[in-house]
């Protein structure tokens, strides 16, 4: 069976800034593919090019058999795009918004009425269908943008950060919706900067950083790809500020990377048996007491750190990354 999306050497320059750098990947039919990377990594730019909203500098994407550079309209007909920020018309009701979207996709009046009823029912928005969208909550906005993307029954769904900015309960609901839509046979390409989300939803994950796709595999294999790297977690007693221990431990022999994860110091190393005594004596020598020590399973995050050299959560955006993410969103935003 042919791939739902086939991305070939996709590249985008904003002036001299390289936002997406010769990216290659495929989304198989009936697959959930996660594009994982920090803000400004080039996820949104990639998606905009795949959906035919932004012209690639070079390279292309073949969507459902159509080249996006040659047949953007055919590509758009087959993709349902759920943007990261609601882009519905706030001054119009949900029903009118959906009707307008349906018109743009060329649905006739009867089909529009049927499908709008269907999606409103499905996403539990029927009672509020005539309210202006600007009075909707964030969760309702997200549900309605997904509903709008499904109106023309696309084969492929593209979702940009589908759960970002949602409370835990709504995020869970959206994840269930994504899994259901996939079960119905749709290929889904989603972007996320949350490791857990990629791990929970995606069949395969591509890790993107600085516009480069640096790894692509199933979450399990990516996790194991930090092969040989093990994680040790310690907590130092009574010390609220675990941070100050990090530079010290980083210097120790055999330690690859040290970072703070959920209040614990996470130490990555290829040789745990060697570093455990080193770390213990180091802490002891400096007047600390270890409250808790454990060997942790390598996670997708460890793989990410291993590949990119940084944690996805804690690094603030550099100026260049900030410019990148602004460029991806500006102009049309």
């Amino acid at each position: 069976m042919e791939d739902a999306i086939h991305v070939q050497e996709l590249t985008k320059f904003y002036g001299s800034l390289l936002a997406v750098d010769h990216v290659n990947f495929s989304v198989k039919s009936k697959e959930i593919f996660g594009l994982l990377g920090p803000n400004g990594a080039g996820k949104t730019t990639s998606i905009r090019m795949i959906c035919g909203m932004l012209r690639p500098t070079s390279g292309t994407a073949i969507v459902a058999g159509y080249d996006v550079n040659q047949k953007p309209q055919e590509v758009k007909r087959r993709i349902g795009l759920v943007p990261d920020i609601s882009n519905l018309f706030g001054e119009l009701s949900a029903r009118v918004n959906l009707d307008f979207t349906g018109k743009l996709y060329g649905l006739d009046k009867k089909t529009r009425r049927q499908r709008i009823d269907q999606v409103l029912e499905l996403f539990k928005l029927k009672e509020r269908q005539n309210d202006l969208v600007k009075y909707y909550s964030k969760g309702m906005h997200r549900r309605l943008t997904i509903a709008a993307a499904l109106l023309h029954q696309p084969e492929i769904l593209v979702m940009d950060e589908p759960t970002s900015g949602l409370d835990a309960q709504t995020a869970r609901l959206v994840r269930e919706i994504i899994l259901d839509l996939n079960k119905e046979g749709r290929a889904i390409l989603l972007t996320t900067h949350q490791i857990e989300e990629a791990e929970r939803l995606a069949h395969r994950v591509g890790i993107i950083d600085h516009g480069n796709l640096i790894a692509l595999d199933t979450p399990e294999k990516l996790r194991n790809s930090s092969a040989g790297v093990h994680a040790l977690e310690i907590r130092i007693l009574g010390d609220v500020d675990q941070q100050k221990w990090i530079p010290m431990i980083k210097e120790a022999d055999g330690v690859d990377k040290v970072l703070l994860v959920e209040g614990k110091i996470r130490i990555l190393s290829k040789d745990l048996s060697r570093i455990i005594p080193v770390v213990v004596s180091l802490v002891d020598k400096n007047g600390g007491k270890i409250e808790n020590i454990s060997v942790a399973q390598p996670t997708l995050e460890d793989a990410f750190i291993n590949l990119t050299g940084k944690s996805i959560r804690e690094e603030p955006m550099s100026k260049e990354e900030h410019v990148r993410s602004r460029l991806a969103r500006s102009g049309l935003r």
Binding site: M53, Q73, L81, L92, L104, Y105, L332, R333
Partner: protein, 247 residues
């Protein structure tokens, strides 16, 4: 079949734009309040005890033209709002041609210009009994003028990076146009070199044509000038829009 589909897309985009503008009654009232206020302020001349009928007859066509300008340019501001709110992406992600988007936005601007101008025309008629020689000529002039103003608005919205910038830019153009475009003061009475500036503004031709709607030759010259403006501004405006849409 395809040109028809493209045209319908444009109609729906225009309809959607206008629906949002008219959805908010306050928005409509506020935007019309300004020309109404100008009409009443200027209809009383200094020293006179009541409205100066002769001057009101001169003033109303000018105000009607000015209202078309404000209406059209306001409507095109939707482009920059759409860009900043991301709703432009909704249209861009759909299988709609860029031409349809441009035509749709333009139609919305022109319709808004004509409708708001007609409201002022009716008010002038009801309150001051001002009459126009031929309503069809008036409609044609208003439509042409509104198209040329829409072109100007499109250029501003295309160039501006955010709504506030677009608002400032549009006021920078609208207010001088209002005072130099023959709305309140005849162009002939302006000191040099202002008449030359006035001749460069589409509003001048619109107000002149509205006043002379009984005189075919004068109207024809104005119509040609407005046509040229419409073509020029639309061409530039659509190029700018096309560039942002297909980046």
């Amino acid at each position: 079949m395809r040109p028809f589909v493209g045209f319908m897309h444009a109609v729906w985009i225009a309809e959607n734009d206008l629906r949002q503008s008219f959805k908010s009654v306050r928005h409509v009232v506020w935007s019309l309040l300004f020309p109404i206020f100008m009409l009443f302020t200027f209809s009383f001349r200094y020293g006179a005890t009541g409205p100066d009928v002769q001057f009101v007859n001169y003033l109303i066509p000018g105000i009607v033209g000015m209202t078309a300008m404000f209406g059209s340019i306001n409507e095109t501001m939707s482009i920059v709002w759409d860009k900043s709110l991301g709703v432009f992406d909704r249209i861009l992600a759909a299988p709609v041609s860029s031409t349809s988007i441009i035509v749709g936005k333009t139609m919305a601007g022109a319709v808004m210009g004509v409708i708001s101008a007609l409201v002022l025309l009716l008010i002038g008629r009801a309150l001051f009994g001002v009459s126009f020689a031929n309503i069809w000529t008036v409609l044609l002039i208003l439509l042409l003028a509104s198209f040329s103003f829409t072109g100007i608005g499109t250029i501003i919205s295309g160039l501006a990076s955010e709504p506030r910038e677009a608002m400032m830019l549009s006021n920078l153009l609208r207010f001088p146009m209002m005072f130099l475009g023959g709305v309140f003061f005849p162009v002939e009475n302006m000191p040099m070199p202002l008449p030359y500036v006035a001749r460069a503004l589409p509003l001048t031709y619109a107000t002149d044509a509205l006043r002379a709607s009984g005189n075919p030759i004068a109207v024809l010259i104005d119509v040609v000038a407005l046509l040229a403006y419409t073509a020029g501004t639309m061409l530039v405006g659509s190029q700018i829009l096309m560039r942002i849409m297909t980046r």
